[in-house]
């Protein structure tokens, strides 16, 4: 017909015929009862498609010639449009179709099984008819209805479920919807419907969930509910502000618990326990972030800043961390594998990084290290060195140079002793064995050196050593630190009990007196030994008043040492062990006055550091205003301690006083460097 220029007639005929036919079809479909409606529609659609194909094949010529040149809709498309207009958009079918579809989805949501294949076909039909059909006739309403549904459901759930359960339900619904889309909806609907679920089920109830009593985020954190936490993380990350919400609650909870931890008087009694608790807390949260929060960096940062916050709330944290390390290096790490040692030290380093007052830590660490080295009480030299290396990496050479000096001194002293004994081997055969550690003054923590009177055997030996040493090192000065030494004494008691006593040098001096006297008063002991009285009292207490170590007997038997007390050797002394340790040189947490002293020394040490920083900065900048100096100095010193602006100001004034700086004559806030 086209060939004969009857294209128009053919075309309009086609339109007309098809339309009529489709209207017939529509009626049939409308007539279908209840469940059969969709099936009928589906069947008719399939028929129509088959027909369309044939028609297109038949009218192919027209499709290719008449239609393009006359700008008519191609046959296939025409067929679809007509179907759309006459069937889908027919008044009776349109609403019914939508309602049926939505009803089925609702049924499925409430647990019934529906014919998914059928659904898929119908939806595909809508998609084939054009995306606007799909969206307008179905998707739009689908999303609205879904929103209503989930709004209601989430309201119900939240009233009766705890957080964990609710999240499980939300997750399940989410997965359901995703599955639904993959099974019978347009894939483009996925994000849209998931957004609906996320909004209704998660976003609207976020805060309520997180803060739910007994089951909210905080409870999950406390109880290490990794699965629940992971679920919360995965769900919340889908909604705006979801993760920040979790993070903020976690942070404030962590800060709160941390604060309680560091101010808990009970915990503070035992420094090692205290630090262990900190480490445990860190481990706990590391695990949570690892297992539940997929190692999210922002959560790591929140963890770090929280720790930094509360660790520094307690000014004794640096001291306690050093004591913890001390305990580990003295005995705690005994028998532990090298790997595990490294792990523990790395964890300690992590806590160290949080400290704002690293210089305080340094001071304590030095003191404790000195005691460990001098009493020979370190579990592993390798572990000690490993930690020094870590500190060096973290803080630079200056931090550790003195510490390393201490190790060097120990080594050098060993060599010196060998030389000493080699040189004097003949003479020293019968004398007590002397072990000297020569300490370089600058490297070791300063102690006032108080010499006491050593027993004759010892003082002769010490003199020999002194002359030997000064013979090879002229120009040096040696002073005996009798408050830091130890001695091993072999003792025989009243009934022949033999013991080897490990004591401090002071204690040795006291005990040796009893070789030539049976009874000695406090005064006599004091006179003979010249040990300072507070040290002497402590010394006598440890020798006479401690059960299991009372090698001396005191009259009266009181705990305190009085001026008139008398001392005797305790002939009835017994101990299970042959070797008895009575020494008192173990590192302990400081008493209040000692703490004050250390704090004062730290403050004093900071002054020159602040001044050096000021001078450095002013030398390069020449002129700088007040606020900027404070900021720059604080930044420079940050790695060691938090500089107090008031203190910086005082140092500036001191430098002005000493003509290093001056105030600008016109702007009093400006400082100028004086070359």
């Amino acid at each position: 017909m086209v060939l004969h220029k009857f294209g128009e007639k053919l075309y309009s005929g086609l339109v007309g015929t098809m339309t009529l036919h489709l209207q017939e079809m529509a009626k049939t479909i409308e007539a279908a009862q209840g469940n059969l409606f969709l099936e009928e529609l589906n069947r008719k659609w399939n028929d129509h498609n088959k027909a369309l194909q044939m028609i297109r094949d038949i009218l192919m010529y027209m499709d290719r010639t008449f239609i393009p040149s006359n700008r008519k809709t191609p046959v296939h498309e025409l067929g679809l449009n007509l179907w759309r207009d006459n069937v889908i958009h027919s008044s009776k079918i349109q609403t019914r179709l939508l309602d049926t579809l939505l009803e089925l989805i609702q049924k499925e949501r409430t647990g019934e099984i529906i014919n998914r294949g059928l659904m898929r076909n119908i939806i595909k039909m809508l998609m084939d008819l054009g995306s606007s059909v799909y969206q307008e006739d179905f998707e739009k309403h689908f999303l609205e209805v879904s929103a209503d549904f989930y709004r209601a459901e989430s309201q119900d759930f939240i009233e009766c479920c705890d957080c964990g359960d609710y999240l499980k339900k939300a997750e399940r619904r989410l997965n359901e919807e995703i599955e639904r889309v993959s099974l019978y909806l347009d894939s483009k609907s996925e994000t849209k419907i998931t957004n609906v679920v996320e909004k209704e089920m998660i976003a609207s109830h976020m805060l309520r969930l997180v803060h739910m009593d007994n089951s909210g985020l905080v409870n999950m954190l406390i109880d290490d509910k990794y699965e629940d936490l992971g679920r919360m993380y995965n769900l919340f990350r889908r909604v705006p502000n979801g993760l920040p919400t979790i993070r903020d609650v976690m942070t404030s909870h962590l800060r709160e618990t941390g604060k309680q931890l560091v101010t808990d008087a009970e915990k503070l009694k035992d420094p090692v326990e205290f630090v262990q608790c900190l480490l445990n807390e860190k481990d706990k949260y590391d695990k949570i972030i690892n297992l539940a929060f997929s190692n999210d960096k922002t959560f790591q940062n929140a963890l770090n800043s929280s720790f930094e916050y509360f660790i520094n709330l307690n000014p004794r944290s640096p001291e306690f961390i050093s004591l913890f390390v001390d305990e580990k290096l003295r005995k705690g790490l005994k028998g532990v594998s090298e790997e595990d040692v490294e792990t523990i030290l790395d964890k300690v380093m992590m806590l160290f990084r949080y400290l704002q007052e690293k210089d305080v830590f340094e001071k304590y660490y030095k003191q404790h290290l000195a005691k460990r080295l001098l009493s020979g009480k370190t579990v592993s030299d390798d572990a000690e060195r490993s930690l020094i290396v870590k500190l060096k990496t973290e803080c630079g050479y200056q931090f550790t140079s003195k510490l390393e000096g201490m190790f060097t001194d120990m080594k050098t002293s060993q060599d010196t002793m060998q030389g000493f004994y080699a040189a004097y081997a003949a003479e020293l055969g019968d004398s007590p064995t002397l072990v000297v550690q020569v300490l370089t003054t600058g490297s070791w923590p300063t102690q006032p050196s108080i010499t006491c009177n050593l027993p004759a055997e010892m003082s002769a030996l010490c003199e020999k050593f002194r002359s030997y040493y000064l013979g090879t090192h002229t120009g040096r000065r040696l002073s005996w630190q009798t408050n830091m030494g130890t001695a091993d004494l072999k003792a025989i008691f009243g009934k022949g009990q033999k013991h080897e006593l490990n004591v401090s040098t002071y204690q040795m001096c006291v005990l040796m007196l009893f070789n030539s006297a049976d009874r000695l008063s406090y005064k006599e002991i004091e006179q003979a030994t010249e040990i300072p009285s507070s040290d002497l009292r402590r010394c006598l207490q440890s020798l006479a008043c401690v059960k299991g170590k009372n090698v001396l007997r005191k009259e009266p038997m009181s705990k305190d040492i009085g001026e008139e007390d008398a001392f005797f050797v305790n002939d009835k002394f017994t101990s299970k062990f042959y070797k008895v340790k009575i020494g008192t040189v173990v590192a302990q947490k400081e008493s209040e006055p000692e703490k004050q002293e250390t704090r004062q020394r730290v403050e004093e040490d900071r002054k020159p550091q602040i001044e050096a920083a000021i001078v450095r900065i002013m030398k390069s900048r020449r002129v700088l205003d007040h606020n900027n100096i404070i900021a720059e100095v604080t930044k420079q010193l940050q790695s060691r301690f938090l500089a107090n602006p008031g203190e910086i100001k005082k140092r500036i004034e001191s430098l002005i006083e000493r003509d290093f700086l001056e105030r600008d004559s016109s702007d009093r806030r400006l400082y100028r460097y004086l070359a």
Binding site: H626, K649, E657
Partner: protein
């Protein structure tokens, strides 16, 4: 100058221009003391010898007491400070020959009477802002012990009482009390000079006190002291308390 309070230079020019007719100069500009060359060197020498100490080539405490009674001024009168300033005296309670003669020359006097006449003028100089600052800052070096870097607290307090009687500062008594209660150490030059700035720029209610204003630490402590003792109400320092 006593009457009109102008600078020396302007007055000098005025007189010169009016051919040294006082009235003329008064009409147009201001009067001025005779320039240096008009003082009689011998008379100055005599004057110096009158006050000079028996054993040293300086005017010491006795000489100064005599000088004060000659010019009818109490030796604790602030005008003596102004006089010392004119002399560029290195330290209080003594004048070297150079200082004495040089000072009187710069004032253009060579007799006790003329010096007496100059007293009102010297007093008026304290009213001039710029001069007061110079005199105030001069006072630090002058009042401190020779060889010391800082000014002893008692002396400083005495000087402050004296100086702030001229240039009224309502907080001066509190300042002195604060120092005696809390500081008890010598005063540095920086603190001394900055105090004047503080008194001049910050109002007595401290409403414009800026905690980041690079004031010396002692002054910051003073402000804290005022607040602690309720002398200044906290409310007026809203800026400050927030920063602190």
């Amino acid at each position: 100058m006593t009457i009109t309070g102008t600078s020396e230079k302007a007055a000098y020019q005025a007189l010169k221009a009016s051919d040294w007719h006082l009235e003329g100069a008064f009409d147009a500009f201001y009067s001025q003391p005779q320039p240096k060359s008009y003082t009689d060197a011998r008379r100055l020498e005599d004057l110096y010898n009158r006050y000079k100490d028996a054993y040293a080539d300086m005017i010491m405490a006795d000489g100064i007491t005599l000088l004060c009674s000659d010019i009818l001024v109490d030796h604790q009168d602030i005008v003596m400070l102004v006089l010392s300033w004119h002399m560029k005296a290195a330290t209080m309670c003594e004048f070297s020959k150079q200082e004495f003669i040089g000072g009187l020359q710069s004032l253009g006097v060579d007799s006790i009477e003329k010096l007496r006449e100059k007293i009102p003028f010297m007093r008026s100089e304290l009213k001039d802002d710029q001069k007061f600052r110079e005199i105030y800052n001069f006072a630090f070096g002058w009042a401190k012990e020779k060889g010391q870097k800082s000014l002893a607290l008692d002396t400083a307090i005495g000087m402050w009482q004296l100086l702030f009687a001229e240039k009224h500062w309502p907080l001066v008594d509190h300042w002195c009390q604060f120092l005696q209660a809390r500081h008890n150490k010598a005063i540095s030059r920086d603190t001394w000079s900055q105090l004047l700035e503080f008194a001049k720029t910050v109002d007595p209610q401290l409403s414009n006190y800026d905690v980041d204003g690079a004031w010396p630490y002692l002054i910051d402590e003073f402000v804290e002291y005022l607040i602690e003792n309720g002398i200044i109400q906290k409310g007026q320092l809203s800026d400050w308390t927030q920063k602190h």
